[in-house]
Symmetry: C2
Subunit: 360 residues, 2 copies
């Protein structure tokens, strides 16, 4: 059962797009989601790749997501663009937002994109990388289902609440980091439950509020923020930015909204884009970027360091040649979805309840 099928990057895209169309997504959504899933597989971010297809399809079948809603765009201020995703998944909303956000960031110096009512199950590095390719420095913030206790507390309240940041590099892939405010990914806890392995210390507390390394206790209790109080502050900031600031849900409200238990939170996302060339007298972007390179060189001079995203970019080079390896069970599930079967193979689904069922 551990064997795997090799797929080329093009096959990943074609399979994903076709099955999404068959399952009822519109051409626009199928295309945008397939691009996002393919980018994740290409960079070997497998949690956000083909494994995620179950979230997309489950949410559609459960009536939690729209597969056809066309995002609408509005101008809230010279520096603020809003996109209403209307309960569609975020990739199409983002695709519609790039051009106006980039235009505003360059004309105003700084601009924000407020996305509402979007289902988010993808990573944040694609949008920040895209903005950096346009020469912009950018941030992205999104909240999630409530899994993480605030520092000092004992109950889940915050989402894993990732934030991403990007900085352009001349002639190179941009510098990007995309990191959860939780000490570990939730998927990693689920995988350790499946594999019967303990967690690292500091990742979680049990339902009694006490530290635990037992994955089952952790999933029934709460994850912890990274870095204690400071990581908890970051999680709190992300809640405010992706929620009240853009007039959208807090993580616990997204959890309540997900009545079908799909694990795909519906809520807001905030993106901030800044044009470096508008932040200095005379605007010499090349000099600013060269200055960034000086910092990166000084980091890499130290043995044992690497830049955020370097592993992703190495994977990208490799998978362009070699394709990606997909577990046979997942591959077969994709084929089944493509043939029109309107049912998720639960073995391929990462959600807590499924893993809990497997391990019960």
């Amino acid at each position: 059962m551990n064997d795997a099928i090799r797929m080329t990057i093009d096959e990943v895209f074609d399979t994903t797009k076709e099955l999404l169309l068959v399952q009822g997504f519109s051409e626009n959504h199928a295309n945008a989601i397939a691009n996002t899933v393919t980018a994740a597989e290409r960079d070997e971010c497998r949690h956000h790749g083909l494994f995620r297809i179950s979230f997309y399809v489950n949410s559609l079948l459960a009536g939690h997501a729209s597969g056809t809603a066309e995002p609408t765009i509005s101008d809230l201020a010279p520096g603020v663009i809003r996109i209403d995703a209307k309960r569609g998944f975020s990739p199409l909303a983002l695709e519609r937002g790039y051009a106006p956000l980039i235009e505003r960031a360059k004309s105003q110096g700084v601009a924000v994109l407020a996305i509402n009512n979007a289902l988010s199950v993808s990573a944040l590095w694609p949008e920040t990388e895209r903005l950096a390719e346009e020469g912009l420095c950018s941030f992205a913030f999104v909240s999630a289902a409530p899994y993480v206790a605030p520092a000092g507390g004992t109950k889940p309240l915050f989402g894993t609440n990732p934030m991403a940041f990007s900085w352009p590099r001349p002639g190179k892939y941009p510098l990007v980091f995309d990191q959860a405010a939780s000490a570990s990914a939730r998927g990693e806890i689920q995988i350790r439950l499946r594999d019967g392995k303990p967690l690292e210390e500091g990742w979680a507390i049990g339902p009694d509020g006490k530290p635990t390394t037992d994955p089952r206790e952790a999933l029934a209790g709460a994850q912890l923020p990274f870095g204690g109080v400071k990581g908890s502050s970051i999680a709190l900031m992300v809640e405010l930015l992706a929620g009240p600031l853009v007039g959208d849900k807090l993580s616990f409200e997204s959890g309540e909204d997900d009545k079908a238990g799909t694990g795909a939170p519906c809520g807001g996302e905030l993106i901030i884009a800044i044009d470096p060339a508008r932040c200095v007298e005379g605007g010499d972007r090349a000099a600013q970027l060269a200055h960034g390179e000086l910092l990166f060189s000084a980091i890499l001079e130290q043995e044992g360091t690497r830049l955020p995203s370097d592993r992703r970019y190495q994977a990208r080079e490799r998978t362009a040649e070699e394709g990606v390896m997909v577990p046979r069970s997942l591959y077969e599930n994709l084929q089944s979805l493509k043939s029109g079967v309107k049912k998720i193979n639960l073995q391929a689904y990462e959600g807590d309840h499924v893993l809990a069922k497997q391990s019960a």
Copy 2:
């Protein structure tokens, strides 16, 4: 020698302003710095209060800082204001920046303030709190002298690189956090050296790159980021925002620039201010802030939690009644500076070299 003198908040301000004038600061700078020092004492952030006066005066006497430079302001884009502090301390530059930044954030929805050539030895919460009092959500980023190794590395490169964030609260002090990207404050390591106490694990590495709990080894080696790789990413982000983005120094360049070893880095600061009411359709600020309060209530319902800054605000209420206790040696040093003595009492100075001397 451990006795202390009680000073009222007004006395802190008057003493500070007078001694700064006597030492050669202009009326404008003396006033702005005295406000900043007084706010820190009032909130019992003693590292940034009267103890810091040695940094201000030392830097002036060493010719590292200007005590009289008038900051100049320029418009770089509809959403970008620049202030050149001309090697003056940051409080006056900030004071000049608030009005235009607030006006732009409200008219554009989002705006940034890029500060250049400012000496920064104060905290970042005063500026973010001030912006939140105007109903804005804000971020501030500043780099510092190079003390912190990148994750995986062994040599100091990043500053302790604080970032601050604020969110307005109706009828209450704003929610503000202001936290270094290092695992501990440098001052805390210095204090443990003085007191002969070990450090916590994970704070630092020695000159050999190995973990240490010895304060002397730590000061000769490097501090570590909080939260491992994720905190290191935050430190890297702050370096880029306060340096290349605004066309100013990286931490290691600020270190090289500080030829007199004053410990007061000269460089950039970036502030981002967003008007929540411009980020939602219809702009109902009251509803957005009420939504934030819902989150804060949910946090505080959990026993063991508190909101960032709550301790500062409690101190603020207390010191308004009781004043602050100032160590006699520091108090006497302040009186001596006020009487015109142009020499720092090194016993009151926190810099590494002084503590190293004390403990040698």
